[in-house]
Amino acid sequence: MNIVSLLEQRRHGWEELELLCNQMQNRGRTRAKAAGAARFASLYRSACADLALAEAYQLPPATVEYLHRLVGRAHNQLYRSRNFSLARSVDMLVRQAPQRIFADPCVHVCALLFFGLFWLSMLLGMSEQRLPDFPAQVVGQAQLEQMESNFEAELNAGFEHYVMMASFYIRHNTGIGLKCFAYGILIIPCIFTLAYNAVALGTSFGYMARDSTIGGENFFEFVTAHGPFELTAIVLSAAAGLRLGLGLISTTGLCRGDSLKVNAIRAIPVIAAAAVLFFLAAITEGFLSPSPLPYTFKAMWAIMSSGAMTFYFVVLGFPRAGIDAT
C-alpha cells in the first residue's frame, strides 16, 4: 500500500476542515455561513471515519496523531459552549435555590454556627462589668475607637457618599462572600472565616450596645436596614462552600470526583442566592443605611426584607416533589 498516495487523496479534505476550523475559531462561524457549516459537518464526519479506519489502514502513528488533533479541533468547534440563559437563571433563583437552601443541612449548620457565635460574642461584648476588655481583645482597640469616631455624628451623608459606598460594598463584601465560598472546598478556611466574622461582628455589636460607648445609637440605626440581607448572605455563601467541601468527604457511594461534582452543582443555586443578597445588602448599605431618613423607615425596611427572605426560604423553599429532577 502506498501511504503517500492514500494520504494525498484524503489530505485535501483534512486541509479544508482545518481551514474551516480556523474560520470558526476566529469568527464563530464559517465564511460561507450555512453552506460552510454543512460542509464542515460533512468533512468532520469523514475525518472521524478516517480516524476510525486509521488503524485498519495501518497509518503511521504520527498521521494517526494528526487525525486525533484534527478531530479534536473540529469537535471543539462543532460542539460549542452554552451561554447563560435568562430563563434558566430565573428558574435557578426562584425555584431551585430556595428549595435547596431549605433542605440543605450545610445551611442549617452554618446558620447555627454563625448566629450562635454571633449572639454569644454579642452577649460577651455587652457585659461591661464582667468582661470589660473582651471587645478590645477580640477586634483590637484601634478598630473600636475607629467605630466610635465613625458613628459619633448623626447619620447624614450626601448622594456622592451613597454611590461611592454602595459600589465599594459590592466589591468588598461580595468579594468576601465569594472567597468564603471558594475556601469551602478546603473546609477549614471556610469555617474559620465564618466563625471569625461571627465573633468579630458579634463583639462589635455588643461593644456598641454598651451604655458607655459613644455613637451606639447611630451604629444600630446604621446596621438595622442592611443587617438581615448581609448576615444571611454570609451564612449562605459559607454554606455553599461547605457543600463543596462535604462533597469531597461524604461521597454517598459515588467516586470522590463525581461526588464533588454533584455537590458543586447543588451549591450553585445557593451561592447565586447569596450573591443576590450581597448585592441587595450593598445597595441598602450604600443608600439607605447612612441616610438621614427616620429610623422607623429603616426598621420597616429591615422587617420587610426579613419577611421577604422568610417567604423566599420557607414558602418557596418548602419541600416539593421533583427538586432533583433538573
Partner: protein, 330 residues
C-alpha cells in the same frame, strides 16, 4: 487484566459520532503562564478603567462624574476580578486571553465544551487553588499581617495527584485543560534514498509486516532523523538481527537501512515503483548465500562506495544519500 493505557498525558474522549480521539492534557507549566497573562490582562483592564475615569473627571471637572466614575470603577473592578474568566470561558469556548496565547482550552472531562455554570464554578474555586496565601510579614517583619501572596500549593498538589491534571476548581466543575494545537503539518517520512528501494526489493515478497511491527517501523522512521548514525544502528540492531536472519541477509548489513527499507516497503512502496534503478548497487546482494560469492569476486577489486555504505563498518556511512533536508520532518 490491567488496562494498557499509555503512560503519558493523553486522554481519550468518545464523541457522539462514536469516535474515540485523544486530547493532550496541559500541565502546570503551560497553565501557569496562561494564568499570569490573565492576571496582567485583568490588572491592565482595571488600570485602563481607572485612568479613563480619572481623565474624564479631570476634563469635565464635575464632581458628579468623579463620583459616578469611582462607583463604576468599584463595580467594574469586582466584575473584572471575579468574572473575567467566567465570561471569557463561556463566550470563547473555554478560552481566556492567556489560554489563547498558550494554546490551551478548557473542556469537560467528557470532552464537551464547558457551559456557563462550569466556567463559574472553576473560576470561583480558583481562590482555593491558590491557597495557602502567605503574609507579607514573612518577608518584612513590619508589614501588616494581611495574607496577600498566593502560593498555589493546594492546586498544584491536587493537579499532580489527579489523572487528568485537574485543580480543585476543575474537579468541582468536572473540567480539564487540554492543549489546543493548530496548524499541524501532516507528518510522513519521505524516502529519497536510492539504496532503500534497492534493498527492499530483496525482502521476500510474501513477507507481511504485522500491525505492531508496522507501528514500530513508522515510529522509527519518523524519529531516525533526530538520531546519530551510530545511535540508529544501536536501536535498530535488535529488531534487524531477527529480520536479517529470516530474510537470510548477510550479517554485516546496516540494521538502520534494513528497518528503513522495510518501512519503505510497508508504507511507501507502490506497484509503480517495481522497476527500481539499482544504480551502483547493481550486482550487490545482501543475501547470506551470495556473501561468499561477493567476497570471492570482490576481494581483488575495490568495493564500490555504495556497497560500503550499505555495510555497517566502524566508520559511520556517508550521510549524503540520507540527507535529512530531503525528507519531511515528522
Amino acid at each position: 487484566m490491567f488496562p494498557t493505557a499509555p503512560l503519558d498525558t493523553t486522554i481519550e474522549v468518545v464523541t457522539p459520532e462514536n469516535i474515540a480521539f485523544k486530547y493532550q492534557l496541559a500541565g502546570p507549566f503551560r497553565r501557569l503562564p496562561a494564568f499570569l497573562i490573565d492576571l496582567v490582562v485583568k490588572a491592565v483592564l482595571i488600570m485602563i478603567a481607572v485612568l479613563a475615569v480619572a481623565l474624564f473627571a479631570g476634563v469635565t471637572g464635575s464632581q458628579l462624574a468623579g463620583v459616578v466614575g469611582f462607583a463604576a470603577i468599584n463595580v467594574g473592578w469586582f466584575l473584572v476580578w471575579w468574572f473575567y474568566g467566567v465570561a471569557m470561558e463561556t463566550w470563547f469556548n473555554g478560552r481566556t486571553l492567556g489560554k489563547m496565547a498558550m494554546r490551551i482550552r478548557v473542556v469537560t472531562v467528557s470532552g464537551h465544551p464547558i457551559g456557563g455554570v462550569q466556567a463559574m464554578l472553576r473560576n470561583l474555586v480558583c481562590i482555593a487553588d491558590l491557597a495557602p496565601p502567605i503574609s507579607l510579614q514573612f518577608f518584612a517583619a513590619d508589614a501588616p499581617p494581611v495574607y496577600l501572596i498566593p502560593t498555589g500549593i493546594a492546586g498544584l498538589v491536587v493537579m499532580t495527584c489527579t489523572r487528568r491534571m485537574q485543580r480543585l476548581g476543575d474537579l468541582a466543575a468536572g473540567t480539564m485543560v487540554v492543549i489546543d494545537e493548530r496548524g499541524w503539518t501532516l507528518p510522513v517520512a519521505q524516502v529519497e534514498d536510492a539504496r532503500i528501494p534497492a534493498l527492499a526489493s530483496y525482502i521476500p515478497p510474501d513477507y507481511r509486516v504485522s500491525p505492531s511491527l508496522a507501528k514500530v517501523l513508522a515510529l522509527y522512521a519518523e524519529r531516525r532523523l533526530f538520531l546519530s548514525p551510530p545511535r540508529r544502528r544501536e536501536l535498530a540492531k535488535n529488531l534487524a538481527a531477527g529480520l536479517s536472519e529470516r530474510f537470510e541477509f548477510r550479517e554485516d548489513l546496516d540494521p538502520d537501512l534494513l528497518l528503513y527499507a522495510l518501512y519503505w516497503r510497508t508504507y511507501l512502496a507502490d506497484a509503480r515503483d517495481q522497476d527500481v534503478d539499482l544504480q551502483p548497487l547493481n550486482g550487490y546482494s545482501p543475501l547470506q548465500k551470495d556473501a561468499a560469492l561477493v567476497a570471492v569476486e570482490a576481494v581483488p577489486s575495490e568495493p564500490s562506495e555504495f556497497v560500503t555504505a550499505v555495510v555497517a563498518g566502524d566508520q559511520p556511512p556517508p550521510d549524503s544519500p540520507t540527507d535529512p533536508s530531503s525528507e519531511t520532518k515528522p
